[in-house]
Symmetry: C2
Subunit: 692 residues, 2 copies
Amino acid sequence: YRQLLWERSRTVVTLTVIAVTIGCIAGFLQIFTETLVNWKTGHCARNWLLNKSFCCSVIETSPNNSKRLYDFKLTKRDELDCLDEGLWINWSGYITPFPIFLILSVSFSLISTLLVKYVAPMATGSGITEIKVWVTGFKYKDEFLNAITLFVKSIALPLAISSGLSIGKEGPSVHYAACVGYTVANWLLRDVLTFSQQSEYLIAASGAGVAVAFGAPIGGVLFGLEEIAASSEFNASTLWKSYYVALVAVATLKWINPFRNGMIVLFNVTYDKYWTKGEIPVFIFLGIFGGLYGKYISKWNIYYVHLRRKYLTKWPVQEVIILTIFTAFISYFNEFLKLDMTESMGILFHECAKGDDISAFGHRLCQLDKTSNVGSFIQIISSLLFATIVRSLLVVISYGASVPAGIFVPSMAVGATFGRAISLFVERFISGPGVITPGTYAFLGAAATLSGITNLTITVVVIMFELTGAFIYIIPTMMVVAITRLVLNHEGIKGGIADQMVFVNGFPYLEYEKEDLFMKEFSAGSIMTTNLKFLYETMNLAELKDFLYSGDGLKLKGFPVINESDRLEPTKRCVGYVLKKHILARLLSPEMDFSNPEMITVSLMSSSKASQIMLEGDDILDFSDIVNSSPIFIKKNVPATLLFRMFKQLGCKTILVEESGVLEGLITRKDLLRFQRIKHREVFGPINQSNK
Amino acid sequence: YRQLLWERSRTVVTLTVIAVTIGCIAGFLQIFTETLVNWKTGHCARNWLLNKSFCCSVIETSPNNSKRLYDFKLTKRDELDCLDEGLWINWSGYITPFPIFLILSVSFSLISTLLVKYVAPMATGSGITEIKVWVTGFKYKDEFLNAITLFVKSIALPLAISSGLSIGKEGPSVHYAACVGYTVANWLLRDVLTFSQQSEYLIAASGAGVAVAFGAPIGGVLFGLEEIAASSEFNASTLWKSYYVALVAVATLKWINPFRNGMIVLFNVTYDKYWTKGEIPVFIFLGIFGGLYGKYISKWNIYYVHLRRKYLTKWPVQEVIILTIFTAFISYFNEFLKLDMTESMGILFHECAKGDDISAFGHRLCQLDKTSNVGSFIQIISSLLFATIVRSLLVVISYGASVPAGIFVPSMAVGATFGRAISLFVERFISGPGVITPGTYAFLGAAATLSGITNLTITVVVIMFELTGAFIYIIPTMMVVAITRLVLNHEGIKGGIADQMVFVNGFPYLEYEKEDLFMKEFSAGSIMTTNLKFLYETMNLAELKDFLYSGDGLKLKGFPVINESDRLEPTKRCVGYVLKKHILARLLSPEMDFSNPEMITVSLMSSSKASQIMLEGDDILDFSDIVNSSPIFIKKNVPATLLFRMFKQLGCKTILVEESGVLEGLITRKDLLRFQRIKHREVFGPINQSNK
């Protein structure tokens, strides 16, 4: 009965365990990052270890159970109170702050990169690309998703972020969430998990990673669908799993309450002014900016990755250190670069409220509306444009360095500063003050660059809303994202930076692209491997072992099984297909200890000869249960396009080629991809130079 | 050059035309419905034809371009002003109002059902089921998506809704949108459109239908994905098409501005109180209610559909009239049933503001918070529960009547009244006044019932947010929907009412369900048709015509093409597959006018014999371009599970069965489904009784 209960509930239990773990890690990450970041600027008076939120939260004295929302909206005010009351002390003096800032930044990034280098090299970078490849059916290295990588990524990520590098946490969040999904699913469902089920758990967990990184449960689910599962099968069952995991993970995070303000919406802006039709040209302009940003940043980043591989492979740690020092020097002296990226976006998105000069949101940006001083206008707009350009360049050289690093948040920050600069222009030269809502331009700019770098549409729109709650701007947001996408399509960019990295890293990835017209003329006959190694329906155990442990038997992963009566014929009829790992598993099992292998017959199919031997009383091993007796056969004239669809959509790894019942060849996924790459190179030249 | 431009832009142009058309129809529908509904209660003083919004909008005197949002929030106040100023006159007196109400209701529904009966019978009901079946690969009748159905559905839907029946507009909106997509795509892309591309346009248009019905662009896209495309392939290109169409359609609708308030958000509530952990049990309770609602309402509705087929088939018009009268009598005397469903939901969702006794939202519900009079408490709660029960029953008997009818909005209305009743209970007996936000319970109840009846998760959550903008309730909403789904899963309900209708209507629908374990033991050999009709590589034209126009040739849709040299052999080797419609298209083309068909040879494959005849100078027709020379072959032992996947995921219609190169049989999608249905019946008994 217990068994039955477990069988009925194990899916839900597994999903819950995955989700709660992801939520807890996200909470830890949030608090740890904030602590490290806060240390760079000050310390808590009563306890060095506390970060600002925890340190200041004593003054929140609201015994009323039903806190009204405006309690939370004023957190930034609380922060100023907190400083005034002496609970939190900022580093002060003319000289001290910057050295402390610099030293802490460098030590954080140093620890981070050393952890990555010596403990888990797989924890570097974003990880989205690898997971995408994994769920399409190519298992990447096992270490990529194991517990050590999970641990290192969870520690090294906060360190890397708080070192001030221009990197985000969402890519790595996807990676650690996928690690959790993989580890937990393999542990709880080890006996029943198939590869495609495993992919479902990975997709669901990856989505939850985005969900907790942004506090955006629906955005996370859609990310899993639009980005991770784009090239694999996405069905209703995956959707429901993603939904459930994202919900529980975000609920857990909310329960942990890492920001100490009860909110999971990161920015919570309330735009109370509606947009007008006259603003549409500006929206289009922002969309175009997003598209161009996406195109050039990913191009330059890939170029820089090639440079790094050529010149910097031997000095990953030194590269990170120099990058940190460089970033710290540039950032410290620009008000938008110095702040934490999310904090600076919070300020940029915020609508200037009348008479709100004292809260932290009452930034100089807002006062600009009133005093039309040309000097301060030029100063602030150049500061914004400087931040835009420098941040873009920092993204190019930071993404891919040897620390855990994402590219979403920095891209959004670039878009936000650019959009805010545009809003100042528009307000001064076109609309006049008080007509537009400047914060919305920053918001739309962030949506455009995020969409440009990822090439996602609906996911970006939903994430932006979940970040801010600014629902009345739904049409402008969708419009900006659509324009960005159209620009990318027009420029011929397929896929976001994660997709482009697939090619840069030379991963196998199954996607028949429509522009690969050169593949149309080829059919199975020209792609297949003809140099085949077979097994026969019945084999001598010694003969089988010899075959498996020598020559091609060592290299290949599976073998066609040939009709017994064709052993001596030149034409072979194939009756099944068997994977080497299954045979080895049988041969290595403890009860397989035979002193005299020559005398034992292995029967791979339940054929007449096998039953005859059985009748004669000889020793026989029945392996017919591990042979796939109905593999997929095609004919030689099947076109390559259909091959792509069969591999992708039937999820098979090997297809046998037959003509008139006679086995002619065999095609694996990798055969097909290798063929495609070779032809691609013949047509377009080497991949590296074509920036694919 | 013009040709090139058209080729590059035709996808975007087609999508834009589809979207703008959908937006315009939606705008017309909105205004027309409102006019009809308003006529039932009053008329405009200066022009009988105007509806309330248009009639009253003269008093909107805001020359300021940047309307602030609170202008719109007070529309309901404006309405009262409008009455006071005498612009709009309600029917008054003791007797007059009800007869006018009744007579108009009956005439609206009469016109609607007559239009459906005599002009376009396909315009009845919802249409979601048929579209779902269509996009999985079974083309339903052509009339289902043609221009006449589109026209009738667009006229009959507003009439049916304003007759007061418990029906919604989203299902029919999906249908008319799909009609637009089908008609426009077939017109603009007639020469290049394949079936699977057509499906993409249908999915995108269907999504836009929901988007304009609810003013929810993202919800629409997700609906297309989660409901319409659930069983077919959903790829990145469909997602982008859906996104674009939904955006443009909603932008068009917004530009038309049918509500005259500049909003597309239907309800726009602003909950400023956060939820507390203590409310979670109530959320769970609402989720369970949603699940049970979904289970029983669809069960009873299907039962009622069977009853209707048995007893009422001959009197569809009479049924609709009686239903209208019955509904009018019941609804007129309950304050929640009398109102338009969206209007009543607006009131139920709304948060009671302090001191807001004069606006239309200052309903008696709000005053109840202050005066704890037991009598009025009992009166209002029984009114709410009465509305819940009666509306549920009305849904059961209305959905499926012979008018265009959706089930989403009525279901939401049921959930809203129920949730609001619960909120009154909680406020009075558990929490005490001022702790909970009663409107949110109505909101969550609506989410639960909508999810229960459709079995959708993420779509429902997103639609609810787009309807209201109440983002801070994201976790409770997701929780309620998840509970509803878990309840449905636990009860063994697969799919929403649209899926269940597939079985009720006996549509072919390709889905291998996991519980159909009985299919596991069957393989291709037992499913295939062995009674085959062939064509040969070269045939005499007269012989071919005889074959096509007689006996089985008339019935079948496609034929295997057999190797010429096997003409007299018992074993036939198949070299291709040809569809009858392609041969007929060739034979019926004008240049095919031969006086002497006996002398002409038709060559179906470019074989040696064909070239030999060509050399001899005889007349030959080359048909080899219409023959699929690489159809999909399988062996007899391929299991049924793989067959399901091949049909579904490769999108093929026919699979040939071969053994050792010899053709043995043929399986079509319908063969497989027929086999499944028969076996299902053998195992579980007749489908009707098992309520599948």
